[in-house]
């Protein structure tokens, strides 16, 4: 193993261009993944944070909160379904908000709730709420009164919670009566009565979706939390499209590594002949190629990570780039695997090297 590493140390110029290209590809992979994560996490936080076991929509809503409408009698039916232990209302209103001391409006989702989502305290008094911490980017502080919607409905911010965004907007968690007041004042065409919510968060055991939809005679459509996350507008499509681009880019990494090492192997055929003539096995020679491929991939990953992190710091907030540790891990694994498989292209040439060629022309 010393020979390939020594070559990397003594002749770094030979590998520089491959490292540069792979670094760009690593940056690209992290950037694509970061965008996907930013879009996914920013859009789905409010639903991922729900602590229920299922979410109930009205049947005709096609899994859209804004189109769903659950009346009091449907709620009562759900509460009496076998296996259901707790039911809470949920509603969202997307509005602009004026934060004190700022001239720009912030996008917020005012969310009314009963069962506290992860990290969110129990519902507070009317007119008070906790906000997702992305509202701090707009200058909001604890104690501020933000004015939401065209009717400038006031909400006092009493605290901040992390990772509860909804459709890339900062969620402001309020009690149901405050949500209804905000909804009715600012969206008269979507006004709701006192017993109406958009959806129900349900805790319980057993096959809740099946039991609830059967009990309401098809008036509801019940999803598990994971299904509800994927039913948010655009989430599944974004994920599928970005993943396709990421996988194709990974194929390019594989091709680039394969190309580079097949050329390098061609260049070294004479040397391999000599090494085989003095006793080196094909396995040992190929392991040398593999080690070099892995070292290059690791260096490229480090450079790519630094470049992607710099890009994330410099980009405007409108680009929803979010680099999370799991993305670094998956990109690292992907790069290392692509490098390993790419270097395998050289395997055939290495095994076909004839030691006798070292005695003849040496090529």
């Amino acid at each position: 193993m010393k020979l390939p590493l020594r070559e990397l140390r003594r002749q770094p110029n030979r590998f520089v261009v491959a490292v540069v290209v792979l670094s760009f590809l690593a940056t690209l992979l992290l950037f694509l993944g970061g965008l996907l994560d930013g879009l996914y996490l920013g859009s789905t936080g409010a639903i991922r944070a729900q602590q229920g076991d299922a979410i109930v929509y009205s049947a005709s809503a096609r899994d859209s909160f804004l189109r769903s409408r659950i009346t009091g009698d449907v709620r009562t039916t759900v509460e009496h379904v076998e296996g259901v232990t707790e039911v809470g209302g949920l509603g969202f209103t997307l509005l602009g908000a004026k934060v004190p001391g700022t001239s720009d409006l912030a996008d917020v989702a005012v969310a009314g709730y009963e069962i506290p989502p992860k990290g969110v305290p129990a519902p507070q008094a009317d007119g008070k709420g906790v906000a997702d911490d992305r509202l701090q980017d707009f200058g909001a502080k604890v104690g501020d009164t933000i004015l939401v919607g065209p009717s400038a409905s006031p909400i006092v911010i009493t605290g901040f919670v992390h990772d509860t965004g909804y459709l890339l907007q900062s969620t402001v968690w309020v009690n149901l009566s405050t949500w209804r007041a905000v909804q009715n004042a600012n969206r008269p065409d979507a006004a709701v009565h006192d017993d109406v919510v958009q959806a129900l968060v349900v805790k319980g055991a057993g096959d809740l979706p099946k039991a609830i939809d059967a009990a309401t005679a098809g008036a509801t459509k019940t999803l598990t939390n994971d299904q509800a996350v994927l039913s948010l507008p655009g989430v599944k499509q974004q994920r599928d499209t970005f993943n396709q681009i990421i996988y194709t880019t990974m194929a390019v990494v594989l091709a680039v590594v394969g190309l580079f090492f097949s050329l390098l192997t061609l260049e070294r055929l004479g040397l391999y002949g000599v090494l085989k003539a003095i006793g080196a096995s094909s396995r040992r020679l190929f392991m040398g190629v593999l080690v070099q491929a892995l070292v290059i991939a690791i260096i490229a990953f480090v450079i790519g990570s630094v470049l992607a992190s710099i890009a994330a710091a410099l980009l405007p907030a409108s680009v929803p780039l979010q680099l999370v540790p799991s993305r670094f891990v998956s990109t690292f694994i992907g790069l290392v695997l692509a490098a390993a498989f790419g270097s395998a292209v050289s395997l055939r040439r290495v095994t076909r090297v004839d030691p006798a060629s070292a005695i003849g022309t040496g090529s």
Binding site: R69, P188, I245, L263
Partner: protein, 365 residues
């Protein structure tokens, strides 16, 4: 190249994949943007007035009572009328689907401008649908019903590029829009327009009307149609995100090509030096190198176009089609960039010293 098919084939394949990604993402970007805001871009209101709290988001805008009259009173405004927008669950083609309704006052601003077949609505419960969605139950004569058990809208016309938020669209008269909203929410106290569609008075420009409305009416944000399109939520972030991704891809393609030909030049240094020593001019060697670059890039572009044509079939729901011209332009741009990065290899070729072939001291490039 004939004798080292695997080597050059691998490079052509890698370049092909990269160009394919560029073509695919460009098509995706164009398709996404068009599908996000087509209806806004292709309606007849040259100026759109939003609630100033909406942050240029039509879905987040409501026109409060009294605003329409104030806008109509602005001297440079020709016609101004309400424009409603909302997403509904409908039954179309026997299936439940999401559909965006645009409600406008018949004969006033807000009508679709790209009608290609049929006619505009002439009364209640008639609509114009997008050409892209014809096969899904939105063709002329098809009936689309708002759920649950709401108004039935007959498609009387089909227009090009009028989708919105990547959903099918129906342009209907405002009372039909109001009826649909009441089906969705019987508790609604009032159905408000989302925006006001405006046409300027003869002799006034849209930008002048925008300035006049913003100066005269409080609580609104007037925008030209193009400003409304460009400022729509999602459009600017999608554009900037894709721009960065495409920039990186445009950097990687020439780098990969340049890397390959640089290595090949290193490998062939002895042979090239010998050729120079027996009288081959440097220009001939450079020409040969550049011919190889062009052949690889053309082969890569052909592979990319094949992949692109196949991949487009998978995203036809975005209304994107295989277009030859953008593919040719992209291939030319990438070819030029590859030729530029190959100049490093060209420089190495030009620096070859024919004398070193005779000294036995090795060739240095």
């Amino acid at each position: 190249m004939r004798r080292a098919k695997a080597r050059f084939g691998l490079l052509a394949g890698a370049v092909g994949l990269l160009i394919f990604l560029i073509l695919f993402q460009q098509a995706l970007l164009g398709g996404l943007v068009s599908q996000f805001i087509g209806a806004l871009e292709h309606q007849s209101g040259e100026v759109l007035v939003y609630n100033d709290q909406a942050r240029k988001n039509l879905e987040g805008s409501v026109i409060l009572p009294g605003i329409l009259e104030q806008v109509q009173a602005v001297p440079t405004v020709g016609e101004a009328s309400p424009l409603g927008e909302s997403t509904f669950t409908v039954t179309a083609g026997g299936k439940e689907r999401d559909t965006v309704l645009f409600g406008y006052v018949l004969g006033k601003p807000g009508a679709p401008t790209t009608l290609i077949q049929g006619r505009l609505p002439q009364g209640a419960n008639e609509g114009v649908a997008s050409e892209k969605d014809r096969a899904d139950g939105y063709d002329i004569g098809d009936v689309v019903q708002i759920q649950p058990d709401g108004v039935k809208i007959t498609v009387v016309g089909v227009a090009r590029d009028i989708n919105y938020s990547v959903n099918p669209v129906l342009f209907v008269d405002f009372p039909t829009f109001e009826a649909a909203k009441r089906v969705r929410n019987p508790d609604a106290t009032e159905i408000l327009a989302s925006a006001i569609a405006v046409t300027p008075k003869a002799g006034s420009s849209p930008s002048a009307v925008v300035a006049d409305i913003n100066a005269a009416v409080k609580g609104v944000q007037a925008l030209t149609r193009q400003q409304a399109v460009d400022g729509s939520p999602g459009v600017s972030s999608v554009k900037s995100s894709f721009a960065i991704i495409l920039l990186l891809f445009y950097l990687v393609v020439p780098l990969v090509t340049g890397l390959f030909f640089l290595i090949v030049t290193f490998q062939k240094a002895s042979a090239l030096t010998l050729l120079r020593a027996i009288g081959a001019p440097a220009s001939a060697l450079v020409r040969a190198l550049l011919v190889q670059v062009v052949v690889i890039m053309v082969a890569g572009s052909i592979i990319a176009f094949g992949l692109y044509a196949g991949a487009i079939q998978g995203v036809k729901n975005l209304g994107v089609h295989v277009e030859v011209m953008p593919a040719v332009i992209t291939s030319l741009v990438v070819l030029v960039l590859a030729l530029i990065t190959s100049l490093v290899a060209v420089r190495r070729v030009l620096r070859l010293d024919p004398l070193s072939a005779t000294t036995g001291g090795g060739v240095h490039v």
